[in-house]
Amino acid sequence: MSKLEEIWMTVSVGVLVIFMVIVGYQTYALGMGPPSHKETIDPQKVEQTAPFDNPGLIDLGDNKYELVMTLEAFAFNPGNVEVPVGAEVEFTMTSKDVSHGVQIPGTNVNAMVLPGHIQKITHTFDEPGEYLILCNEYCGTGHQAMFTTITVK
């Protein structure tokens, strides 16, 4: 290998290492890791299993909320939720049938919601407005109709 090649390889590997350090710092030190919740549930008994037997918005005090939500072809339950400005909302979700994805454009809320698995993701809504919540994983012919909103005021 020539000198130039060695320099190039060293820089390449160096960039890779620096990149990993940044991603690692964000993941572990800043707690910005991707949604990776590990609880499971019987996908055929979602309606009989707590907390999904009673989906809805739970006020935890201190402007913190838990939104327990079920996803199914082609709906979010509950839909059209309202929260105050500055609310920190933890979404607790599962699917009653096939794979879905939950996405709120304009935020970092983006997670897969799979049957048999409970997924969690938290977001603080600092700006007022009507946010779109949509399904971003193909789930059948009505996939494009699977959406709802969350209103922040």
Partner: protein, 559 residues
């Protein structure tokens, strides 16, 4: 020196024998299937673009997801796979002075299996029994015949792969102590990776078939997803490895240069083969049921593929600069202008290589934890793979057509056809820049992928995506024009171009190169290393997914 002399002798032998007619027939059959598929798949692509932008509605009885399923399967699997096989077998036949008769038989069996498989799968899609997209994630359950079609498709590929392995072993035995010709080495890499990549999806499909037939009640959703991406992502990198074989070995000859140090080329091939499969995990970065630490490990494993890619970038710039300077290019960029930009055999793969720079950068975004969360399942991803597969791979394939097809059909590449090729390349480049560029931007503002209509009852966020979608449709229209020109060029060169001889542009090593290290030929060892890397990546998460599995899911049809 000795190596260079060996290759020199081999070249002479080949030019004396010319093209082997039986092998040419095999490759041309593959190219016929490939470009017929491109025409259908491309048309389905434009229909989607128009439907999504609200400019066209499908006739009653058909829906967007059916069209999307067919477009994905035909272009991502059938077009690319058949082109790859046609091209790799031509390389092998050229390197080995013809394939073995029994290998030819295996290849024909492979063709038959694949055609039956594709016809079965596509028929189910057309009948509305398999609108499950390229990913066919359980518990979406298609008609059993769809999966049986996939099994036949994989068996067809294996039949070819085993043929290649047999022919390689035979040549090595006949030529003791000699390194295999570099294009044959690439072909080995391609089929070894292909075989191990397809193991994942094969296991998945054998989990699905008894489940859709009702023999077992439920299926493990996470395990099937993971096995799918073991295959689904590697597939894309197989096409990339095929493209690099042309970048390293064919392009230098066309620009009047020599190829890079063969030891490094072989090392890149080995790295691309052994490191590739775990890259599939970055498709699952926002899945539940995989811990953050495992995901972090996979960011690293996915990114490791950047190392051989950066080596390739270095090697290609080195080779091109050297060739350009030899032709009198001066100064920092003078060599760049000296390259044969008017030669489609160079122009197409060159744009393909340049596209790999933004393509690779986009790949790094997709691979990393937090950035993935922003763009996951948005149009960004669609834009990304239209740059990597649609330009880096496909333009390389198109460029190969302009010398390989006339070579095999014993015809000429006329100056007129070259000009058509150059125009086609620019139409394709502009079309993809417009389409993939706007897809990236739309994805950043949240436009989801795989959705027939994104107006969401007129929500203002959704309406902000519409202008981008008109731009996708414009790009898609240009691309269909590009497809039509390319298909015309391919069949013209196959059947109507003037008779003659076309060169097989295989570059030679530089004069002062060291001997090719024989340890690079130890494919048994590379297969073991590959399996060790796969085990490192998959054993812990898959065991976790099985041991801590929820009750499974029954088959569901939601379309």
């Amino acid at each position: 020196m000795e190596q260079a002399k060996n290759i020199g002798i081999r070249e002479n032998v080949i030019s004396n024998l010319g093209v082997n007619p039986q092998d040419a027939k095999i490759s041309l059959t593959y190219f016929t299937i490939s470009f017929a598929t491109l025409l259908i798949g491309g048309l389905l692509g434009l229909i989607q673009g128009l439907e999504r932008a609200g400019l066209y509605s499908l006739p009653a009885g058909f829906n967007y997801y059916q069209v999307l399923s067919a477009h994905g399967l035909l272009l991502l699997v059938v077009f690319t796979a058949t082109f790859t096989i046609g091209y790799q077998l031509a390389n092998l036949s050229h390197s080995f002075n013809g394939l073995l008769p029994k290998v030819r038989k295996m290849i024909w069996i492979g063709i038959v299996l694949k055609v039956i498989g594709v016809v079965l799968a596509v028929t189910m899609i057309v009948l509305g029994e398999a609108s499950v997209l390229y990913t066919f994630y359980p518990p979406l359950a298609a008609h059993p015949i769809f999966y049986i079609g996939l099994v036949l498709l994989v068996l067809g590929i294996w039949s070819v792969a085993f043929g290649v392995f047999i022919n390689y072993r035979h040549w090595r035995k006949e030529n003791p102590g000699k390194p295999t010709p570099i294009l044959a080495f690439f072909a080995m890499g391609v089929f070894v990776l292909w075989f191990f990549a397809s193991l994942g999806v094969t296991i998945e499909v054998f989990m699905i078939i008894p489940w859709v037939l009702g023999w077992v009640e439920t299926i493990n959703v996470m395990v099937t997803r993971t096995l799918f991406w073991w295959f689904g992502h590697t597939l894309v990198n197989i096409w990339y490895l095929v493209a690099t074989s042309a970048w390293y070995i064919i392009v230098p000859k066309i620009v009047g240069g020599k190829h890079f140090n063969e030891k490094l080329i072989r090392l890149v091939v080995i790295l691309l083969v052994v490191l590739n499969i775990p890259g599939g995990f970055h498709h699952q970065i926002i899945d539940p049921a995989i811990s953050i630490s495992i995901k972090f490990l996979h960011v690293f494993m996915s990114l490791s593929i950047a190392v051989p890619s950066l080596m390739t970038a270095f090697a290609m710039f080195y080779v091109l600069e050297k060739a350009g300077r030899k032709k009198g290019g001066k100064g920092l960029f003078g060599w760049f202008k000296k390259l044969p930009w008017g030669d489609v055999r160079f122009l197409a793969p060159m744009i393909a290589m340049i596209a790999f720079i933004p393509g690779g950068a986009g790949g790094i975004v997709n691979t990393s934890n937090q950035m993935n969360q922003v763009i996951h399942n948005t149009m960004w991803v669609v834009g990304h793979f239209h740059v990597t597969v649609g330009v880096s791979v496909v333009l390389t394939f198109f460029g190969i057509c302009y010398w390989l097809i006339p070579h095999l059909s014993k015809r000429q590449l006329t100056p007129k056809m070259n000009k058509i090729g150059v125009i086609q390349t620019w139409i394709w480049t502009i079309g993809m820049t417009i389409m993939a560029g706007s897809m990236h931007l739309a994805g950043l503002v949240g436009d989801p992928r795989r959705t027939s209509d994104t107006t969401y009852a007129g929500h203002e966020t959704a309406l902000s995506w519409l202008p981008y979608e008109y731009v996708f449709a414009t790009g898609a229209t240009l691309l269909l024009i590009g497809v039509i020109i390319q298909v015309y060029a391919v069949f013209n060169m196959m059947f109507f171009a003037p008779k003659g001889k076309t060169e097989y542009p295989v570059s030679e090593p530089e004069d002062d190169q060291p001997k090719v290290p024989m340890w690079t030929e130890r494919w048994g060892l590379w297969a073991i290393v590959l399996l060790a890397v796969v085990a490192m990546a998959y054993v812990i998460p898959i065991v976790d997914m099985i041991v801590n599995a929820p009750p499974g899911s029954p088959p569901i049809k939601t379309w």
